[in-house]
C-alpha cells in the first residue's frame, strides 16, 4: 500500500474520532425532571419566576446567588449560581442554565440570559418613544 493511502486512512480515522468525541461530549437540552434522573451536566432552557425571591447578598457571600426558574415544561426549581448576580437579571426573558442537580437544588455553572433589549435593539426604544410622545 502506498504511504499516502495509509496517511489518508489515518486522517479519516482521526476525523471520525473527532466526530465521536464531539458527539459524546455534547450535551442535551432538558428539563429539571431530566436533570433529577441524571448526574450529567445538561442545559435547561426556562424563564425566571419573578414572583419568588432572588437572593444575593454580597455582604454575606459575594459568590452566592439563588433564584427560581420555571423550565419549558412548567416545572420549577431553585437554582444556585456560584458567582455574582448579573445586572438586570430580573429583566431577563429567557434563561439558559448549564449545570446539574444537587439534592433539590440545581447548581448552575453558567447562566446565559436573554434580555429583551440586548438582541432586538429597536423594540425597547419604541416604548421610549411613546413615553416621549406622551410627555408633550
Amino acid at each position: 500500500m502506498k504511504k499516502s493511502a495509509i496517511f489518508g486512512l489515518i486522517v479519516i480515522a482521526i476525523a471520525i474520532a473527532t466526530i465521536i468525541t464531539t458527539y459524546s461530549s455534547s450535551s442535551t437540552y432538558g428539563s429539571f425532571g431530566d436533570a433529577k434522573k441524571t448526574t450529567e451536566e445538561l442545559h435547561i432552557v426556562g424563564h425566571l419566576d419573578k414572583g419568588k425571591e432572588l437572593y444575593y447578598d454580597a455582604a454575606k457571600d459575594a459568590n452566592y446567588f439563588s433564584f427560581f426558574v420555571k423550565d419549558n415544561k412548567g416545572e420549577e426549581c431553585k437554582v444556585i449560581y456560584t458567582g455574582t448576580k448579573p445586572q438586570d437579571f430580573e429583566k431577563s426573558e429567557q434563561i439558559v442554565l448549564t449545570g446539574r442537580m444537587t439534592g433539590n437544588e440545581f447548581h448552575a455553572s453558567t447562566i446565559l440570559m436573554k434580555c429583551p433589549s440586548k438582541y432586538t435593539q429597536d423594540k425597547i426604544e419604541v416604548t421610549e418613544f411613546k413615553a416621549k410622545a406622551a410627555s408633550i
Partner: protein
C-alpha cells in the same frame, strides 16, 4: 402615507442609495466584461478588458461614494437615518464615530467590499496576464457584496440591507405619523460601550482586509484551473496568500487583545462561535500555503493545495454566514441578528462552492497529480502532514461551532458540550501539539531526499534539549497540574522555538531566504507558549476566606472544575476597608465619574518582608450602567514584563445620580437619616479618651468652646461647643467636629458625618461635674456602606502571546519579501 416630514435630510441618503445601485451594476458589468475578455479568442481585441477595467473603477468610486455619504450622515448626526440613530450619538467622540461606521452589519459589508475593491485595483495594476480570469472572480464576488447593501424589494423579498434606511421605515411607532417626529429624536442610541475602545477603531478594518484578501488566492486557484495554467498560478498565490494570512492573523489577535482589555470574561480567547469562525479561513489558508510551497518545490500534492486554497474562501463566506444569519442564536454573545439575509448569505456560499467543485471536477483528469509517493524523509511529506493537521483542527472547530447549524439542518436538539472551553482546549491542543512538533523537525529535512542519520542525530539532540527546558518551565509555572496534553504542547512549542532558532542562526550566516519561515514558526510557538501559561495557570487573586459565611447545603469552594468556574473568584470590598488578597493588600478608596463611566479606584499595596510598602499602584476598573445592556464593566490591568494583574468589577450597588462620598457634611437634623445607621451607641468621654468602634477608633482631641455654625449667629447666653474628633478607620485618618449648642435656652446639636468611614457622630451632652462629654456614635450597617464586588486575576507570561504575534508578523513579512523576489526572477 403622504406626510411631509419636517427637518429630514434626504439628499445624502438618496445619493448614497444611487451609489449602492451603481456599485452593484458596475460590479456586474465588470464581471461580465472580464468573463468575455477571458473567453475571447481574439488576442488583439482589448475592448472587453477595457470595459471590465472601467466598470471596476466605477464600482470602486461608487463604494467610496457610499462610504462618504454614510460618514456624512453619521458625522452630522442625522438621526432620521436608522444607521446613525442605532450606532452613534452626539456625545460620541470623533474617533469613535469612525468605529460607529462599521458598527452595524451594513458597515461591515461596506468595509469588506471596499477592501475587495482596493485589492482588485492592485490586481489590475500588477496581475498582467492573470488580470482577466482573476478579475472575473473578484468582480463576481463584488457583485454579491454589493447586493448585500441594496435593500430593495424584488418580488416581495427584500434583497440586502441598506445603510441608508430611514429610522421611520426601520422602527414602528406612533410617533412616526407626526410630521415633526424628528424634533423628538434628540439623540441616537449611542455605541455599545464595549466597542468604545481604541482597538475597535483598528481591529475591524484589519480583520476585514484579512478576510477580503482571501479571495485573491482563491481567484488565482480558479483561474489556474480555468485557464489550465496549473503551475503558474502557484507563485503569485503564495505571495497574496502570505499577505492574507498575515493580516487575518493580526486582525484576529487584535480582537483578542480588545477582549482582554475591555471585556470581562477574564481572558483573551473564549471559543465563542464568532471568534472560532474568524480563524477557520486562517487555518485552512496557512495549511494551503504550506502545500503550495510543497507543490512548488516538489510537484507533489497539487490537489490538496488547490483544495485548501479554495476552501479558505468558502470558510470566509461561511464565517460571515455564521456571524450574520442569526443561526448561532443563543450560543454566541456577539453574533448579529438576522437582517433577513439568511438565504442571501447561503446563496453566496453555495454559488462559490459550486464554482469550486465545478472546476475541480471538470479539470480532474488534467490536474498534475503526481503518481509517485513522497519520500518519508523529505520535507514535503511532513509539510503536507502538518497542513492536513491544520485542516483537521479546523474541521473540529467547524464541527462544534456549527452545532446550531446541524440542529437547524437535521432538526436535532444537540446542545454544545457543557464544559465547552475545556473541550476545545484539550482537542485543539492535541492538534496544536502535532503541528508545532512538525514545524520543528521538518526544518531539519530537505526537499526530496535527506541524509537520514544526520537528521536523526540533530532531531534527537534538539528533542532532548527541549525536553529538559520543558521540564523546567512546566515545574516553575505549575503547568503540570493541568491535563498532560498541555505539557506536550509546551514541549512541542519549545522544541519548535529551538529548532527554528537553529535554522534562523544558520540563515543569518548566508541562506537568508530561509529566515522568514523560521521567524514565523518561532512567533507561532511563542504565541502558544504564552497562551498556554497565561490561560492555563491563570491565578485568581481575589479570593479571601474572611468575611464569607458558609451557606448550608452549598458546596462552596468545590475543587470540581466542572461545577462553576466562578467559585470564590469574586470578593466583596467595602470602601476604605483593606482586604488582603494574594500578595496584595487592596483597598477600594473611592469612585470618580466621567459620565457614563464610573471608575472605581482600587489601591493595591504590596509589602515586603519588613512590612514596608514595596509597591503601590491604583487600578481603575470601570463600570457603566447602560440602558440596553445593564452593567457593562471593563477591567483595568497592571502590566508587568512577566505577568499581568487584571481587575474588574462584577457587582455594584444601584448607581444613584450622585456618586457616593460627595454627601454634604453639614447635616441638618434629619430624623430619617438615622434609619440608615445601626443602633447609636453613646459614650461618655473626656479629652484624650478613645472610643473604639468596629473599623477602628475615635479620639477626642479637644473641645472648642467658641465653635461657629454657619448661618447661626450666637447671642448673649448662647453656647456652642464643638468636639474635635479624630477618626482612625483602618489605615486612614479623618477629622470630624460635631457641635453642641444652647440657643435661646434650647439644646441643639449638629451631627457630623464621615462618609468614607460610614460614621455619624454627635456631641449630645456636656457633663460639667465629671468634666466629660457624651459622644453618640452612629455606624452604618455593613451593607449600607459603599461597596463593590470585584474579581482580580493574574495572567502569567501573557506577553509571550503578544510578542509571539509580532514575531510571527515579522516572519510573514520576510516570507512575502522572499516570494516577491522569486516572482520577479521567474
Amino acid at each position: 402615507m403622504d406626510i411631509a416630514f419636517q427637518g429630514e435630510h434626504l439628499l445624502p441618503g438618496d445619493i448614497g442609495k444611487v451609489f449602492v445601485i451603481l456599485s452593484f451594476g458596475a460590479a456586474l458589468l465588470s464581471a461580465l466584461s472580464y468573463y468575455f475578455a477571458t473567453t475571447n479568442t481574439n488576442k488583439l481585441d482589448n475592448s472587453w478588458l477595457k470595459m471590465g477595467r472601467i466598470a471596476f473603477w466605477a464600482n470602486s468610486i461608487s463604494i467610496l461614494g457610499v462610504g462618504v455619504m454614510l460618514f456624512y450622515v453619521i458625522y452630522n448626526h442625522y438621526f432620521e437615518y436608522h444607521y446613525a440613530w442605532a450606532y452613534t450619538s452626539r456625545s460620541l467622540p470623533v474617533y469613535y464615530i469612525v468605529s460607529g461606521f462599521w458598527n452595524g452589519q451594513e458597515g461591515g459589508f461596506l468595509l469588506w467590499t471596499f477592501w475587495q475593491a482596493v485589492l482588485g485595483n492592485v490586481l489590475i495594476w500588477r496581475a498582467k496576464s492573470w488580470e482577466k480570469p482573476v478579475m472575473t472572480i473578484i468582480s463576481f464576488s463584488q457583485v454579491f457584496l454589493a447586493s448585500m447593501l441594496l435593500g430593495i424589494e424584488v418580488f416581495g423579498a427584500r434583497i440586502g440591507s441598506s445603510p441608508f434606511l430611514l429610522l421611520r421605515n426601520a422602527v414602528e411607532g406612533p410617533i412616526f405619523s407626526r410630521p415633526d417626529y424628528l424634533s423628538f429624536i434628540k439623540d441616537g442610541q449611542g455605541m455599545n460601550p464595549l466597542l468604545q475602545n481604541y482597538w475597535m477603531v483598528i481591529h475591524p478594518p484589519t480583520l476585514f482586509l484579512g478576510l477580503a484578501s482571501v479571495v485573491v488566492p482563491f481567484a488565482y486557484a480558479i483561474a489556474g484551473l480555468w485557464q489550465k495554467r496549473y503551475k503558474e498560478w502557484v507563485a503569485p498565490a503564495i505571495s497574496y496568500g502570505l499577505f492574507s494570512a498575515m493580516i487575518l492573523g493580526t486582525g484576529v489577535i487584535m480582537g483578542s487583545l480588545w477582549a482582554y482589555e475591555s471585556l470581562n470574561f477574564g481572558g483573551f480567547w473564549a471559543w465563542d462561535p464568532v471568534e472560532n469562525a474568524s480563524i477557520f479561513p486562517w487555518l485552512t489558508l496557512v495549511g494551503g500555503l504550506h502545500v503550495l510551497i510543497v507543490y512548488k518545490n516538489s510537484g507533489h500534492s497539487y490537489f490538496t493545495a488547490t483544495f485548501l486554497v479554495l476552501i479558505s474562501f468558502i470558510m470566509v463566506l461561511y464565517s460571515s454566514f455564521l456571524a450574520r444569519s442569526g443561526v448561532l442564536g443563543e450560543t454566541s454573545v456577539h453574533a448579529f441578528t438576522d437582517l433577513g439575509m439568511f438565504w442571501h448569505l447561503v446563496i453566496f456560499i453555495l454559488v462559490f462552492l459550486a464554482l469550486s467543485v465545478y472546476f475541480l471536477v471538470v479539470r480532474w483528469k488534467e490536474m498534475p497529480i503526481s503518481k509517485k509517493d513522497e519520500d518519508t524523509y523529505s520535507r514535503e511529506f511532513w509539510m503536507f502532514v502538518g497542513a492536513i493537521f491544520l485542516g483537521l483542527s479546523c474541521f473540529h472547530l467547524i464541527l462544534v461551532t456549527s452545532i446550531p447549524v446541524w440542529n437547524s439542518m437535521f432538526g436535532t436538539k444537540i446542545a454544545p458540550p457543557t464544559d465547552l472551553v475545556g473541550h476545545y482546549n484539550v482537542i485543539q491542543a492535541s492538534f496544536a501539539m502535532v503541528i508545532v512538533i512538525l514545524t520543528g523537525f521538518t526544518q531539519f529535512l530537505k526537499y526530496k531526499k535527506t541524509d537520514v542519520t544526520r537528521f536523526f542525530i540533530t532531531t534527537g539532540l534538539y528533542l532532548v534539549f527541549a525536553a529538559a527546558i520543558t521540564a523546567l518551565v512546566v515545574y516553575v509555572t505549575g503547568l503540570y497540574k493541568l491535563h498532560f496534553v498541555f505539557v506536550l504542547v509546551m514541549f512541542g512549542s519549545i522544541y519548535s522555538v529551538l529548532a527554528n532558532g537553529k535554522v534562523l542562526t544558520d540563515s543569518l550566516k548566508g541562506k537568508f531566504k530561509l529566515a522568514g519561515s523560521a521567524v514565523a514558526h518561532i512567533g507561532f510557538a511563542l504565541m502558544l507558549i504564552g497562551s498556554l501559561i497565561a490561560a492555563g495557570t491563570r491565578k485568581v487573586v481575589s479570593n479571601n476566606e474572611s468575611g464569607n459565611i458558609n451557606i448550608k447545603g452549598f458546596d462552596r469552594g468545590s475543587t470540581d472544575a466542572k461545577v462553576g468556574g466562578d467559585i470564590h473568584e469574586n470578593i466583596m470590598m467595602y470602601r476604605n476597608e483593606p482586604v488582603k488578597m494574594g500578595p496584595y493588600t487592596v483597598t477600594y478608596i473611592g469612585d470618580s465619574v466621567s459620565v457614563p463611566n464610573y471608575y472605581y479606584k482600587m489601591d493595591y499595596k504590596r509589602y515586603d518582608a519588613n512590612g514596608k510598602i514595596a509597591e503601590e499602584f491604583i487600578l481603575k476598573p470601570n463600570a457603566q450602567i447602560n440602558p440596553q445592556m445593564g452593567l457593562v464593566s471593563s477591567p483595568d490591568t497592571k502590566h508587568y514584563l512577566f505577568h499581568d494583574l487584571y481587575t474588574h468589577i462584577t457587582a455594584i450597588p444601584e448607581i444613584k445620580d450622585k456618586p457616593a462620598g460627595s454627601g454634604d457634611e453639614a447635616a441638618h437634623g434629619e430624623e430619617n437619616d438615622d434609619k440608615n445607621y445601626e443602633e447609636p451607641i453613646p459614650h461618655e468621654v473626656a479629652v484624650g479618651d478613645t472610643i473604639p468602634y468596629r473599623d477602628g477608633y475615635i479620639v477626642l482631641k479637644s473641645l472648642n468652646k467658641e465653635a461657629k455654625v454657619q448661618n447661626i449667629p450666637l447671642t448673649g447666653d448662647d453656647i456652642a461647643i464643638s468636639a474635635k474628633l479624630e477618626v482612625v478607620s483602618h489605615t486612614k485618618t479623618y477629622q470630624a467636629d460635631p457641635v453642641y449648642m444652647i440657643k435661646n435656652k434650647t439644646v441643639l446639636d449638629f451631627a457630623r458625618k464621615v462618609e468614607d468611614a460610614g460614621l455619624k457622630l454627635r456631641l449630645s451632652k456636656i457633663i460639667p461635674d465629671k468634666n466629660k462629654v457624651e459622644i453618640i456614635v452612629y455606624q452604618q450597617p455593613q451593607n449600607k456602606r459603599p461597596w463593590i464586588v470585584m474579581r482580580a486575576l493574574d495572567f502569567p507570561y501573557i506577553n509571550f502571546l503578544w510578542s509571539g504575534t509580532i514575531i510571527m508578523i515579522i516572519g510573514f513579512l520576510l516570507s512575502i519579501r522572499r516570494r516577491n523576489k522569486e516572482l520577479k526572477t521567474v
